[in-house]
Symmetry: C2
Subunit: 428 residues, 2 copies
């Protein structure tokens, strides 16, 4: 054991203490990176370019292998590339595996085998965590290693670590997140330029901010997986992302933003969950949020997560939710934490038991609705259908808007579906 002045305690084999921390030998770690795509190459960059920073936190880490099917001639790390996972698996010097392959297979099998061989694993793979997280955490526990996945939610924002390690005295009551950079980029552009969805999506695709097959982002599925991971983490039980009501942003128009501005609001794709009497409620949908809401600080590709808890009240965590280096940085931050806990299973997680998610019909919201015609001609019928309503005048020809009071989703959808001339609705 070596207690370096002013630095972290680390278990090390050979300690040569000097006053220059860069010369100190601390915990020596060889890592393997699975997948040499965008995130994987970012991980290698962060580990090797910031080795001195990581060493100052007590961990001397280097990459020993990069697993990829391809070769990378001319790449500065080409000699580290291997094609056979068993080479990593059978090398006892490799204690940490950074998985950046994406998808469930072979990422699942490789992660499982790595942990069974006594290696800890960290990942940016939200599909895998949302799908097979409980199983992988169980494997980690059985093998006295750890499985960390900070980068799977909010990219570089340390939200999972905050929930696990900092807000440990807090009863988490609700979490609202802007968890998808692509949709936030599109909505921010639409707001600032008065442009419509299709045009902005096309531009975002050209600039590389949206994929050519953008459904996972614009239909809300990506945000849904992330809020499912958050619900799992705070409930300690598996949240099935397929049970979470999810709406994307494809129906949002520049006209909707005009009404939002009239209300002092803007429109964001919000992934939200809160504790209920029976369990949790979760939903992903566009929301008209107050311009003063601190979550609105997330403009463009930035993400933000607003946590409401009983003692601390509101706290917010903001940063780049995607991108090569921010995502890689979160994976490497996990790798450092894994290195600090070699031989100790400490990582939080959830069981395979499913958390009870309330049906969306039972949730309550206020709603904004756009409709053809004039408010004055429809006021009585609207009140009969929606209860208390307030007109919103954005001076749009041939249509009007109104907001409702708090009402149950089920009642609202019944009334909305029966509404003549309906154009769009957005939850407040």
């Amino acid at each position: 054991m070596c207690l370096h002045a002013g630095f972290f305690y680390v278990k090390i084999k050979n300690c040569v203490c000097t006053k220059q921390y860069r010369k100190r030998v601390t915990v020596m770690i060889k890592a393997a990176v699975l997948g040499y795509g965008t995130v994987g190459s970012g991980i290698v960059s962060v580990i090797e370019n910031n080795a001195d920073v990581i060493a100052a936190h007590g961990v001397d880490m280097h990459v020993k292998y990069i697993l990829d099917l391809r070769d990378f001639p001319g790449d500065p790390f080409e000699k580290l590339v291997v094609h056979d996972f068993d080479q990593i698996l059978n090398d006892d010097e490799v204690k940490i595996v950074c998985e950046a392959m994406g998808g469930t297979e072979p990422a699942f099998t490789f992660s499982k085998k790595a942990m069974e061989a006594g290696k800890s694993v960290c990942t940016s793979n939200k599909e895998l965590v949302a799908e097979k997280g409980a199983e992988l955490m169980e494997i980690a526990k059985k093998n006295n290693v750890n499985y960390l996945f900070e980068a799977s939610v909010g990219g570089g924002i340390p939200i999972l670590r905050t929930l696990n390690d900092a807000l440990t005295a807090e009863r988490i009551e609700s979490i609202q997140g802007i968890l998808n950079g692509t949709t936030n980029y599109i909505l921010t552009k639409m707001e600032k330029e008065g442009a419509d969805f299709d045009a902005v999506l096309k531009e975002a695709q050209e600039k590389g901010y949206a994929e050519r097959n953008p459904e996972a982002d614009i239909e809300g599925y990506d945000a849904c997986r992330k809020i499912a991971i958050i619900v799992s983490l705070i409930s300690h039980k598996r949240a099935d992302w397929e049970q979470i009501h999810t709406e994307g942003i494809t129906k949002i128009s520049s006209v909707d933003f005009k009404y939002a501005h009239k209300l002092g609001r803007t429109i964001k794709l919000i992934a939200a969950c809160h504790k209920t009497e029976k369990g949790y409620a979760a939903i992903v949908s566009p929301r008209m949020i107050d311009k003063e809401n601190p979550i609105n600080c997330a403009q463009g590709v930035f993400n933000a997560v607003l946590v409401h808890s009983d003692m601390l009240d509101d706290s917010l965590y903001y940063g780049r939710g995607a991108g090569k280096l921010p995502t890689a940085s979160a994976v490497v931050g996990d790798a450092v934490e894994l290195a600090r806990h070699l031989g100790d299973h400490f990582s939080a997680g959830w069981s395979a038991e499913e958390v009870a998610l309330d049906p969306v019909e039972d949730s309550e919201f206020e709603y904004f609705v756009r409709c053809k015609g004039a408010f004055s001609d429809n006021e009585a019928a609207l009140k009969a259908a929606f209860g208390s309503v307030k007109p919103v005048d954005a001076s749009e020809a041939g249509e009007f808007g109104f907001t409702t009071s708090l009402m149950k989703e089920g009642s609202f959808m019944n009334a909305y579906n029966a509404l003549d001339g309906k154009l769009n609705y957005i939850r407040l």
Copy 2:
């Protein structure tokens, strides 16, 4: 050793695992709370009211003693109150001491003795940490215990933990913080209501948001201690808060806000530091910041810290920077972390060696200046004195404003001090 399904690994003596986590015996901790004022009573509330939440994070914690000179007849915890610190010191069952006394003495002596007796200490006492932090960290190290102080900066915002444990792969380049709730409350009120400083301060005092002796807040000393702690943490060396150039908000007027709005900006008291070639630069001063700056999400008593680092780019942490329960929650979050690491010295810190702080005269800023007269009459002289300048017209009779390009603080102050009719200056 007990590995609870889905929960943290904790070292425990007697483990009775059941499926109901609230019944689980995990790590049993008795804590003592020093000082039963606002924060101290908050700490007791958080530990006892959220004992089930804390247990779900693997720590069964209860308060055994509360040290205070006073008695608290009728208080639900009156039986825990003791007047003699030695009673705590000599009780080996007490492993964690939460210090909420404020000031340097007797807080320093008690913290020192507690750690020498093998107890870990957490605190909200920023004066003590800024003044004697290095010494206390050294004592923690020598005694294989830990000294944590999350609540000393940003109240309930987990900024120190984020810097220590999450952003471990990041080269921290600069940090800007709104670190004082009182001044942010005053500036927010001034902005929203067009009111002047004295009137808002008086109201804040009446409401309890400002102290009767408000100098530590309004002159920036509180924010200064906090940024000194941040500089110490990221440089691993002691930053002397008395060496940090500090200006408060007493000279800010409603007229300044009019000019700020003309520039699309607002005014915040910003505690800032950045890495320089030779060491670090740090300053506390009012700043005219862009309205779109995410740090501007901190309105009223809220605090926010914006971190710029090389891989992650910008990330921001927002929450209540003061107040009984948020501050207490951060102390208890530290206590949980201490409980998880009994017997392991892990806490980060800094050495007694002083970090090199650049003289403020060498720092570069753009400046906003208000001056009597008309811009057109003074343009030539202003250009001669300040270099490139741009007028700002807020339609104020008998005066004008202008902004400079980036210039050295030393050059600016020379020019400003020689300026006839000068009214105020604010750094951008």
